[in-house]
């Protein structure tokens, strides 16, 4: 895991190395400073010549300035390295997701991907920064200080032998207990936020049933629960400070006592030594404290790193073949003994035993209830999923032999879950053809019956579409999505329930347009409304993953019970079975 994450450093490697170098420099100087300082004090005390004092003083100032520069530069390079690292990590994540097949995408929810790209990366960046700043520095300081302390202090340094293990043990124990407590709290915290979101979204329901007080009580209860758990976890961590303090105090008292005794009974030690020892003591304990903080940080961000790795490790389940076919001959479609299930572990096949042959230029309608796998069937054509058994051919070639983008450029699909993106109408349509001219765009829109309403907007094709396309109505959105697909000038056009919000008259006009303007394009239309498919060359009736009946409208009225049932239901309800928004 670390190896893969470390790969994201890339061009920022030099900053990492610079950071490490400067930090080592800073640490060395920082350990030397007390040593020189002790000299300075001693020379002042011994009433030394002013020139000696000045000399030592200047040396110290130079050292401080060096340390300042080193520290400052390290801070800068470290910021650059860690920000760069997280930038690359986000880039890798995003690019990885772009290589995903539909099957991969289905595994992750949108919100979980967003969290991984933001919060999780931020956590890992934090750890990364902490690691390069302190992972070298703290052990280095620790070792330096210990060596110096033993060299200078001799017997005085014995207190460290006792204090360090005690502190280390204490810190580890605190980490041990705190970590699971925190993990549990964070989970509950997520749930609390989910319940807030639920309330914000469902406020009309809450108010409609006058459940404000009930929700307050419910929320109060979970908030208090979290408070209890959180306090417990925080209080464990809060023990860090007293633990650290007691070690420091014991150390100081010991050094003062033993120091004064040694200073008086032997000549080996003087006051300067004692103060230096106190300084080293502080440095040692601080380093230990930092190390324990890193430990906590790393364990905390391990969860985030794991979630990130899940995305990076996910293998795209679909790749272009080594020697791909780069042109689609025509719009003919063949399903030869196709069965399909969404995941290998799924027990039930979404599609079973599909044999279907569509000639180029035909119009095919598909009718069937929810869960009858209409969408699954058409998704195999642009190779959004691969068939589990059998093979799907477009233009007489197995779809798995095409270069994927070639295939998908020839097979335009308007998904059931239609989306427009934030940007102008023109920008959205150019998804279909990046270099489309205004005339081409208007042409496609005229065909999709969208030109009139677009032109009625004050800003026409430059009208800005809000994120999620909230400022156009459902029917308008669907028509724009159709126009976007038409711009690809596809050999096969698939509409997956794409006119459900369009009124019957416009729906008919769109279909008429197809017949007269793109007769050579194979058109597949999935619909709930019989009226949308009844003129098709071939209508498939699907139920439970199988094609139960196929034929023309009149034939199916005779032969297919399901078809007849749906038809009667819709005609009884009046022919205006329509929807809006």
């Amino acid at each position: 895991m670390l190896k893969r994450l470390a790969k994201c450093v890339r061009e920022y490697k030099k900053y990492v190395i610079l950071t490490l170098l400067f930090i080592v420099g800073e640490a060395v100087i920082e350990t030397l400073i007390p040593f020189v300082t002790a000299n300075l004090i001693n020379s002042i005390k011994s009433g030394a010549d002013m020139s000696v004092i000045v000399k030592t003083g200047v040396l110290l100032i130079v050292m401080a300035i060096l340390s300042l520069c080193f520290g400052g530069i390290a801070g800068f390079t470290c910021a650059k390295a860690s920000s760069g690292f997280s930038k690359n990590l986000r880039k890798d994540l995003f690019e990885k997701v772009q290589t995903y097949s539909f099957q991969n995408i289905d595994k992750f929810s949108t919100s979980s991907l967003v969290t991984r790209l933001t919060t999780d990366v931020a956590n890992v960046q934090m750890s990364f920064m902490m690691i390069i700043r302190t992972a070298i520095r703290s052990p280095l300081m620790l070792i330096f200080s210990i060596i110096m302390a033993f060299r200078m202090g001799g017997l005085l340094a014995m207190s460290f032998v006792v204090v360090i293990p005690v502190l280390a043990f204490g810190l580890i124990m605190i980490g041990r207990y705190a970590m699971p407590a925190f993990r549990a709290v964070f989970k509950k915290y997520d749930r609390l936020n989910e319940s807030i979101e639920e309330n914000v979204r469902g406020m009309r329901v809450v108010k409609g049933f006058s459940r404000e007080d009930y929700e307050k009580k419910k929320f109060g209860k979970s908030a208090e629960e979290i408070r209890g758990d959180f306090t417990k976890a925080e209080r464990i961590v809060a023990l860090n400070t007293p633990l650290m303090q007691i070690c420091m105090y014991v150390n100081m008292v010991f050094i003062l006592f033993m120091g004064s005794k040694l200073a008086i009974t032997t000549a080996e030690i003087d006051v300067g030594h004692i103060s230096a020892m106190l300084n080293y003591g502080m440095a040692i304990l601080m380093s230990l404290m930092m190390l324990s903080m890193i430990y906590v940080m790393i364990t905390m961000s391990t969860e985030s790193a794991k979630r990130i790795m899940e995305v990076l490790r996910e293998e795209p389940s679909m790749t272009s073949p080594a020697d791909p076919v780069t042109a689609v001959a025509d719009g003919s479609i063949d399903f030869d003994g196709v069965s399909f299930k969404y995941s290998e572990s799924a027990k039930k096949f979404a599609l079973a035993d599909i044999d279907l042959h569509v000639k180029s230029g035909m119009t095919v309608g598909i009718i069937g209830g929810t869960g009858s796998s209409k969408s699954s069937l058409v998704q195999l054509i642009p190779r959004l999923y691969d068939a589990t058994e059998g093979c799907v051919k477009v233009g007489g070639v197995d779809v798995r032999n095409y270069r994927i983008d070639v295939l998908r450029d020839s097979v335009a699909m308007v998904l059931q879950k239609n989306l427009l993106f934030a940007g102008t109408i023109r920008e959205n349509l150019q998804w279909g053809k990046p270099d489309a001219t205004d005339e081409e765009i208007r042409e496609a829109c005229r065909l999709a019956q969208a030109d009139d309403f677009v032109m009625s907007f004050p800003e026409g094709y430059d009208t800005f579409i809000e994120q999620g396309g909230t400022n156009v109505s459902g029917g308008q959105k669907q028509r724009l999505c159709i126009a976007r697909a038409l711009l690809k000038k596809p050999k096969i056009l698939i509409l997956d329930d794409s006119t459900s919000a369009v009124d019957t008259k416009t729906d008919a006009m769109i279909r008429e347009g197809f017949w007269s303007y793109i007769p050579e394009t194979t058109k597949i239309i999935i619909a709930q409304r019989i009226s949308s498919v009844q003129d098709a060359d071939l209508i498939l009736v699907m139920d439970n993953g199988r094609i139960t009946d196929m034929g023309k409208h009149e034939e199916l009225l005779q032969t297919s019970e399901i078809y007849r049932e749906v038809f009667e239901q819709q005609t009884n309800g009046g022919d205006g079975d329509e929807e809006a928004e």
Binding site: I33, I44, G47, M50, I53, G57, G72, A74, G75, F76, S86, F94, E95, T99, I105, T110, V114, E194, S195, I196, E197, V200, R201, V205, G208, F209, E215, K216, G220, A223, A238, L239, N240, P242, Q245, I246, Y249, V253, L256, I264, T265, D270, V271, S275, T370, L384, D405, L415, N418, L419, W431, D503, K505, Q569, G573, G574, G576, E579, A580, E581
Partner: protein, 657 residues
């Protein structure tokens, strides 16, 4: 209607390129005020503990100085008098040990206070956050629907996530550090004055310098961190959109393009991130080393003073000597170290203030007012028609109407008669969306609204249950002006099924019971049967005890609607508002949902917002709305004969948009 970007905290003048975030004392005051209000005893107690700890950490310098002085004295005495080492130690220890013991005592006290202080801080922080959350949530629950209609849900959520987090940092760390450090700085300052005013003044010059550096670098860092938040939000928005539309991206082979766009935003984020962090990272070493330089300068000037025999000026009147310089030096270290600590908090304070300000913004929203005094009570109706209030659940309800004029109380049985007279309404002033709407629904009647998006169908129902208040005209419910009815009672008498189904985390049973908290399991199941939901619920793995998560994501659209219908059925209100679902569900499921709706409507006054004309045919009255006016009204037959707008809609000549 859209609010400005969530990450643009009002505390910081983002527009001004050189504007550094200002601390708003008003916000700080209010925050501290709340802290003390929540914990009137513990907060001062913690402050006292911090005070003790701070003093206890400032004073040892004095003792260190004493002890070193004693050691040196005894060293020279021993040398002069040629005392045996052991003898010298025996005599010296009599003086030194009490000092050390006293020091140890101070340490012991400080250990107690520091333990108390950190434990209390942990306790108070979490308690404070919990109380803030609850207060935010409670105030939010009291806000009118308008607030939720005009604010992005993501923005509201970020109060509870991002902003609360900044408060945590502020309360748990920044404020205690500030208190502790300022106390140390102050006490050290006085001790220094006690020793030498000259050196203190010298130090002050250094402190001024440190202050300027903090203002420049720390302020810069805070500025970039605020911008960083904004960048993160925009990246989040982009990723959200792209991940949502990932399948569209794939279908259009748009991967390269979307990576390019992502790179641009990612680069922006990188720039802000490294600037913010660089400033923050650099501040520490720079301040620390300014401290080191100060240390050396103090030592050198001290030495100079010593050599030149300049007279000392101090509170103590002590003569200048080594025994003053040495402790003064260690105090210099402490002094600058604490100033360093304070400046490290600049970021979290600026961010915390911005967060607090936003939270206060939520808290200061004007809550929904409810001055209704007519209440809904259980009633018994005598055979002669008189209505009496009942203590127990009778299944019958009445409006209890106290009259302030003469103190009398009248009871009106709940029937479900709704009348609107000449109602005008505007969501925003000047933009009237309903004009002169008059309609009535007698108990048991079904009224359907038909019309394009934005014609005002939903608006009318928003007014009946007072999600919004009318600008002009009158709405009466069973003859009572709805403004006089307590809102919670009014809404209790009105059931709603919305087009977007919202379910809550919990079991299916919990979700149905949401309609009537007193309902027994049997009543809930009966409601589910009525709605036609019992069938599929029983087939769920755990039946009615199946846990729903994430707004019922594990159910199909149709199933969720059925639960929503059952939820309304268990409330058993005399008046129902049904907003039909628009999402396309297949014909068979739709038929089941339709049957559920029909069952629910039976015997009630119903307002239907229709999206499918097939469902409105059997309404008693159909209102065709256009731009906030009722342009046609009548039953299906009459409207078809009229050959007006309804006829055109019905024959599919117009889109219902």
């Amino acid at each position: 209607m859209k609010k400005q970007n969530k990450a643009a905290p009002q505390g910081a003048p983002m527009g001004a390129p050189h504007g550094r975030p200002k601390l708003k004392t008003r916000v700080l005051k209010r925050l501290l005020g709340m802290l003390i209000k929540f914990y009137p005893v513990l907060v001062p107690m913690t402050a006292v503990c911090i005070l003790f700890t701070a003093i206890a950490s400032a004073i040892p310098a004095v003792f260190l100085q004493k002890v070193t002085e004693l050691i040196e004295n005894w060293q020279s005495i021993a040398a002069e008098q040629k005392l045996p080492m052991a003898e010298a130690w025996r005599m010296a220890s009599a003086e030194i040990v009490p000092h050390i013991l006293f020091l140890a005592g101070m340490y012991a006290v400080s250990l107690v206070t520091i333990t108390l202080d950190t434990q209390l801080t942990a306790y108070i922080t979490q308690g404070f956050l919990c109380k803030m959350r609850r207060e935010m949530f409670e105030r939010m629950q009291n806000l009118p629907i308008k607030y939720f209609d005009t604010h992005k849900h993501g923005d509201i959520m970020s109060y509870y996530t991002n902003d609360i987090d900044t408060l945590r940092q502020l309360v748990a760390q920044s404020i205690p550090t500030m208190i502790r450090a300022s106390i140390v700085v102050l006490s050290v300052f006085f001790i220094m004055l006690y020793y030498s005013i000259w050196l203190t003044l010298l130090l002050l010059v250094g402190v001024l310098f440190m202050f300027l550096v903090t203002k420049k670098i720390g302020g810069g860092s805070a500025k970039y961190f605020l911008r960083l938040q904004k960048s993160v939000a925009s990246l989040e928005g982009y990723v959200q959109e792209m991940m949502n539309g990932q399948k569209v991206v794939k279908v259009f082979c748009h991967e390269k393009q979307s990576i390019e766009d992502f790179d641009k935003i990612n680069e922006g984020l990188f720039q802000e991130s490294y600037r913010a962090n660089a400033n923050a990272n650099m501040l520490g070493p720079i301040l620390m080393n300014i401290g080191n330089v100060m240390y050396v300068i103090v030592a050198m000037v001290g030495g100079l003073i010593l050599v030149t025999n300049t007279p000392n000026v101090s509170l103590s009147g002590l003569a200048f000597g080594v025994d003053i310089i040495v402790p003064f030096l260690s105090m210099t270290k402490q002094f600058t170290g604490n100033i360093n600590q304070v400046s490290q908090q600049v970021n979290s304070i600026v961010m915390g203030m911005a967060g607090a300000e936003r939270i206060f913004e939520l808290m200061d929203q004007v809550p929904e007012v409810d001055d209704g005094y007519v209440t809904l009570v259980n009633a018994e109706i005598d055979p002669d028609g008189t209505v009496r209030e009942s203590e127990t659940h009778t299944g019958k309800w009445a409006w209890k109407h106290p009259h302030s004029a003469d103190g009398s109380v009248t009871y009106t049985p709940l029937r479900g008669d709704v009348r609107m007279t000449e109602v005008d309404f505007a969501y925003t002033e000047g933009k009237t969306v309903l004009h002169d709407v008059t309609l009535y629904a007698e108990p048991g009647q079904k009224v359907a609204f038909v019309g394009a998006t934005g014609a005002g169908k939903t608006t009318i129902t928003n007014l009946i249950n007072r999600f919004y208040d009318i600008a002009d005209g009158k709405i009466r419910y069973d003859g009572i002006n709805i403004n006089k009815i307590r809102k919670s009672d009014l809404r209790r008498s009105l059931g709603i099924v919305l087009q977007e189904t919202n379910l809550f985390a919990g079991t299916v049973m919990d979700n149905i019971r949401y309609g009537n908290l007193d309902a027994t399991d049997e009543e809930c199941i009966r409601a589910a049967k009525l709605a036609g939901a019992d069938d599929f619920i029983s087939r769920l793995p755990k039946g009615y005890e199946t846990e729903l998560s994430n707004n019922g994501a594990n159910l199909s659209q149709g199933q969720r609607q059925l639960i929503a219908i059952a939820r309304a059925a268990v409330a058993d209100p005399p008046v129902m508002i049904l907003d039909e679902a628009t999402s396309s569900i297949d014909t068979r499921t739709e038929a089941i949902v339709q049957r559920g709706m029909d069952a629910l409507m039976k015997g009630r006054t119903v307002f239907v917002i229709a999206h499918r004309l097939s469902t409105v045919r059997n309404s008693d009255v159909i209102m065709v709305l256009d731009h906030g006016r009722i342009i046609e009204r009548g039953d299906h037959q009459r409207l078809i004969e009229q050959k007006g707008q309804y006829y055109q809609l019905y024959t599919g000549a117009f889109e219902l948009e």
